[in-house]
């Protein structure tokens, strides 16, 4: 047994008293990351386990704008035991009331008798789905409670979809395949396919998707079937999904959010690291005499280092263990609560991988933050026994330790980047955390220097409480560094979230609607276009109307190669896109490259492509695209690249074809109407009254939905930031506790000199508030910089400083330090001076 280990063991007999903050910081940071990772693993396992139920079948074949043809049906019948046909589209629920007609946007699902293949549709009142949808006087329908409430419907009421009347039979509580569809614009209504036949909503050219859910024989080879189906039907616009990944959208979302929250968790761990470092520093400062004695007795620097490294190592293991137990247990304890919040199945269990990841992060963080103070013990000289200023604890560590710290930090960042799978964001976050820590450290030094200077300013003479507070912030043994670092980083994350959130909301709610249209109208049949235009263009409240023919198509091949092989996972080739055709050229300034086709062009099909997306994919003039529209392949050559602006929510198509390419294809038109808000209701009433099949999407409502999704994201980030703040608060308490001895002494001397408790309390309160406010100010600066960077470089929009949340953060910082400071001011105030001072003699 080495001498270092024997020394370490003897030192540890003193117990863990000085290490409570160390353990709390490390355990909390590790627990947060372990818990986030465990929940993510549980969701992923749940999605995998319930894949078939979420998807609504073992596999799904879906088509845009059309139902399956005979060959496709034959293939399905050949491989599947049972097939369920459904259709999905947006429409308007229409109710005739005495006061007029009311309309609400809904996402309609038309189902056959086999639906659902797996799982159960839960209704209120608890009817069977077949019973609820059966046709009596009218076909039946079930509807999301949200829409029932919004439209003020009651069970038994009759409403229209298109030209067909339906009777509302029940509220839709749960649809088993609800999570698979992804982002829908309206609440769900379910009716039968048969019932929809008379609605006029499924005529050729209207926008709908058809899905065929397949119940496959036990043990069917999904991979082989997927390859077979794709090989046979891919160029016809078939999309294949199977239960191996029932809700790809949800999966990707959960994956991204989980990874992002782990990064936020790392910020928390960094704050914990500050606490860990402070705790080790304080512990070692208390050990100066022991270390000096050991050196007097002949211990070498490396022996001392090893002895304390082992102690800290053992404590780190204990902290990690506590954190892992907590992180693994929390999701299990709160399982019912989490499950109730998320509309997806979650398989709560013990997942070793996220725990290992958290432990690794924790161990590296502890190493990075403790090496510095540990390495400095090497410089401590035996002379410290009889002289205070014998160097040691203030000196810089040897270069080898500095290099080790840098290497470990690089390893931690590399691991986080690799394991998160979102490299740029991970590197950005790591850079942000390090930048913020550096900024905060510099700020702490600056605050100390400024306080020292101010404490000597003539103007403060006579203001004893303020002067002593400043003196304490600027003087030796100041808590400035730990407080500003720990509180500042948590506040900086919160400030950045606040700035980004407010700026985004402002961009959506204030800036966008001034340039965005009031309504999108979709599914305008060619013969309805002229009456529609007559109605809206004649309205003096309408400032602008744009229309465009609209089809949906999938880009299947680029220059004869599979589109995925050329463009990877670019969004343009993911699923179907809106496609339009144009007879006349756009304004010349919109054409970036190539030439537009003449108005009377009749040669081989030509295409114009959005310039930015073309550059991202690597397309240029002369490339050939194969687009599958309604099951038919159209090959077109790119003749022009054009500027398309999506951010104003107007009409923008990535792909425009020459008119002759789409001759004869059934299609509809979309229109955007820019109108004064007061005129919106009348326009909707007239348009929908004349053409019930036309769906109107109110842009304000759609933007509200986007805003609410962003709000959830901001809320999730805020929770992460809150975890960081809790760790920061623990570090604060640690700093306040560590400084208590000093304050007890100071209070005793001040009382001896004639200071009342009020003066002493004011001095303590002022120094706490000063530090907290300073941390808040720096956090605003760091958060503002982060917000500016995100808005400018990621969101591509303007940034404006948002003062309300900023002020709240400064006040919050001051309050947090004030509370922790005052909590530890009671003992100093109550202590009798004689006892304190004599104990030091």
């Amino acid at each position: 047994m080495s001498i270092a280990w024997r020394i370490a063991r003897r030192e540890l007999r003193g117990g863990l008293k000085g290490f409570r903050i160390f353990l709390a910081c490390l355990a909390l940071g590790v627990a947060a990351i372990a818990a986030i990772g465990s929940v993510r693993a549980a969701i992923e396992a749940g999605l995998a386990r319930e894949g078939a139920s979420i998807l609504g079948g073992d596999a799904e074949m879906s088509f845009t704008y059309r139902f399956a043809d005979d060959a496709e049906r034959a293939f399905m019948d050949q491989i599947a035991l049972r097939v369920s046909e459904t259709v999905d589209f947006r429409s308007m629920v229409v109710i005739d009331r005495a006061g007029g007609v009311e309309r609400g946007l809904t996402q309609v699902r038309g189902v056959d008798g086999a639906y659902p293949l797996y799982g159960t549709v839960v209704l209120d009142p608890p009817l069977a789905l077949a019973e609820a949808l059966a046709t009596t006087e009218h076909p039946g329908a079930v509807m999301d409670r949200l829409l029932i409430d919004r439209m003020a419907l009651t069970i038994g009421d009759v409403f229209r979809l298109g030209t067909q009347e339906f009777e509302l039979r029940a509220a839709l509580v749960d649809e088993p395949d609800g999570a698979s569809g992804g982002f829908g614009l309206g609440p769900r209504t379910i009716v039968t396919l048969q019932g929809l036949e008379g609605s006029g909503l499924l005529s050729p050219g209207t926008l709908y998707d058809s899905q065929y859910r397949l119940a496959l024989p036990q043990g069917a080879d999904l991979a082989a079937l997927s390859v077979a189906a794709r090989a046979r039907f891919e160029d016809t616009g078939l999309r294949w999904r199977d239960s191996r990944n029932g809700a790809p959208g949800v999966q990707v979302f959960v994956d991204r959010i989980g990874a992002f929250l782990v990064l936020v968790g790392l910020a928390g761990l960094a704050v914990g690291g500050v606490g860990v470092s402070a705790a080790v520093r304080a512990y070692l400062e208390g050990k100066v005499e022991t270390i000096a004695t050991l050196k007097t007795l002949g211990a070498e620097g490396h022996t001392i280092f090893a002895a304390y490294f082992m102690q800290v190592g053992l404590l780190t293991l204990l902290g990690l263990g506590l954190g892992l137990v907590l992180g693994a247990a929390l999701p299990l304890i709160f399982a019912p609560l989490i499950a109730a919040q998320l509309p997806i199945p979650i398989a709560f269990a013990l997942y070793p991988a996220p725990l290992a990841e958290a432990a690794l992060y924790g161990a590296l963080t502890a190493l990075i933050f403790t090496l510095w103070p540990l390495a400095r013990t090497e410089h401590l000289r035996a002379a410290a026994l009889y002289r205070d200023a014998a160097g040691g604890v203030q000196a810089w560590p040897r270069p080898i330790w500095l290099m080790a710290i840098v290497a470990l930090a690089a390893l931690l960042i590399g691991l986080a980047t690799w394991l998160s799978g979102i490299e740029r964001l991970a590197l950005g976050t790591a850079g942000g955390i390090m930048g913020a820590l550096l900024l905060l450290a510099l700020a702490a030094r600056g605050i100390r220097a400024l306080s020292r200077r101010l404490a000597r300013a003539r103007i403060l003479r006579g203001h004893t409480a303020l002067r002593t507070a400043l003196g304490s912030v600027g003087g030796p043994g100041s808590e400035a560094m730990s407080v500003v670092l720990s509180l500042g980083l948590g506040l900086a994350v919160l400030a950045a979230v606040g700035q980004i959130d407010t700026n985004l909301r402002a961009a959506i709610q204030r800036d966008l609607p001034t340039v965005a249209p009031s309504y999108f109208f979709v599914d305008i049949q060619p013969d309805q276009l002229q009456p529609f235009l007559d109605r809206v263009t004649g309205d003096p409240a309408v400032s602008r109307v744009d229309t465009a023919p609209m089809l949906r198509g999938i880009i299947t091949r680029i220059n004869g190669q599979r589109a995925q092989d050329v463009a990877g996972d670019h969004w343009v080739i993911q699923g179907d896109r809106g496609v339009t055709y144009a007879t006349s050229a756009p304004p010349p300034e919109e054409i970036v490259a190539g030439t537009w086709w003449p108005d009377d062009y009749s040669g081989p099909p030509l295409a114009a492509f959005a310039a930015e997306e073309a550059a991202e994919i690597g397309l240029s003039i002369g490339d050939r695209l194969t687009v599958n529209i309604l099951g038919r392949d159209i090959e077109a050559e790119i003749a022009a690249l054009r500027e398309v602006r999506f951010e104003n929510a107007g009409i923008g198509f990535v792909l425009t074809l020459s008119q002759n390419a789409l001759a004869g294809a059934p299609h509809t038109h979309i229109a955007t109407v820019y109108a004064e808000e007061a005129a919106e209701a009348a326009i909707l009433r007239d348009v929908a009254g004349a053409a019930p099949n036309i769906t109107a999407i109110r842009v304000r409502d759609a933007l509200d939905q986007v805003a609410s999704a962003l709000r959830s994201l901001a809320a999730a980030t805020s929770y992460g930031a809150a975890a960081t703040l809790v760790t920061g608060f623990i570090v604060l308490i640690g700093a306040a506790a560590a400084g208590e001895r000093g304050r007890v002494f100071e209070a005793a001397v001040m009382k001896t000199l004639g200071a009342s408790r009020g003066v002493i309390l004011a001095s303590f309160a002022l120094r706490a508030a000063l530090l907290g406010a300073a941390a808040g100010v720096v956090a605003i600066l760091a958060g503002g910089l982060g917000g500016w960077a995100v808005m400018t470089f990621v969101m591509d929009t303007t940034y404006r400083f948002e003062p309300v949340s900023a002020i709240a953060i400064i006040l919050g910082g001051a309050l947090a330090t004030l509370l922790s400071g005052l909590g530890f001011a009671l003992r100093p105030l109550a202590a009798r001076p004689a006892r304190v001072l004599r104990a030091r003699d």
């Binding site: 009382k751 004639g754 200071a755 003699d841």
Partner: protein, 231 residues
């Protein structure tokens, strides 16, 4: 005879420790008059520092009365005691007890500031110069030697011109030369301001310089010796 500046009447002090209640002082009665210099002596643990702490209101008697300048210290709360010290007393400790986060000048200026003197810093500078430390005004205690720290402590105690100066083994932590210098300064201050000086000491030669020596043993007054100036 004029009223005493400091009176202890049947003063007792007991403390509750881990091992139970410990009686530190038993029925101490003594008077100290204006301008007197009194040395409190006795072996370690005899209670001499505790008597000094009672006189300064830094410790609260568990029985009897402590009267200073006609006011009963045992009836005052912490803040009243603090104000009383501010206006009337200076205290010097064996371990100096400078505030580590303040420079020498700030340490000396603090009691003057607390007393509301607008010229606190100017007076503090003069006091520091008087103890020969003008050049160390902006140094922190950790940057000074023990002798220098005690000189700062002395300047701090003397700055408000206290009527009563209390010193608890002021040379206990200093070498002979530094200790001697501190003693000369302490008595010099007392002569200059006419303060009453009470000091606790182990050093017989220091006790011998006082007008009166009070010896304590086991928390009781063992004896007293009065010297006149001719002795």
């Amino acid at each position: 005879m004029a009223d005493p500046v400091l009176s202890l009447v049947d003063a007792r002090l007991s403390l509750d420790g881990n091992a139970g209640r410990v009686d530190i002082l038993h029925a101490i009665t003594l008077d100290i008059h204006a301008g007197e210099t009194v040395g409190l002596t006795g072996p370690s643990g005899s209670g001499k520092s505790s008597v000094l702490m009672l006189m300064g209101g830094l410790e609260r008697a568990t029985g009897g009365d402590v009267i200073a300048l006609g006011q009963d210290l045992t009836a005052m709360n912490e803040d009243q005691l603090a104000r009383f010290r501010r206006d009337n007393m200076g205290v010097v400790f064996q371990s100096f007890h400078l505030i580590p986060t303040m420079t020498a000048l700030e340490n000396v200026a603090t009691p003057l500031e607390l007393a509301g003197h607008r010229d606190a810093f100017d007076r503090a500078e003069a006091e520091l110069a008087a103890v020969g430390l003008a050049h160390r005004a902006h140094h922190y205690p950790s940057q000074m030697s023990g002798g220098e720290q005690q000189r700062v402590a002395l300047a701090r105690a003397a700055a408000p011109r206290p009527r009563i100066l209390l010193a608890d083994e002021p040379t206990g932590n200093l070498d002979g030369a530094n200790g001697q210098a501190i003693i000369e300064m302490l008595f010099g201050l007392r002569d200059r301001y006419g303060s009453t000086l009470v000091l606790v000491t182990h050093a017989p030669e220091l006790a011998a310089r006082c007008d009166r020596e009070i010896r304590l043993r086991d928390g009781r007054i063992e004896g007293a010796a009065l010297r006149d100036a001719a002795e």
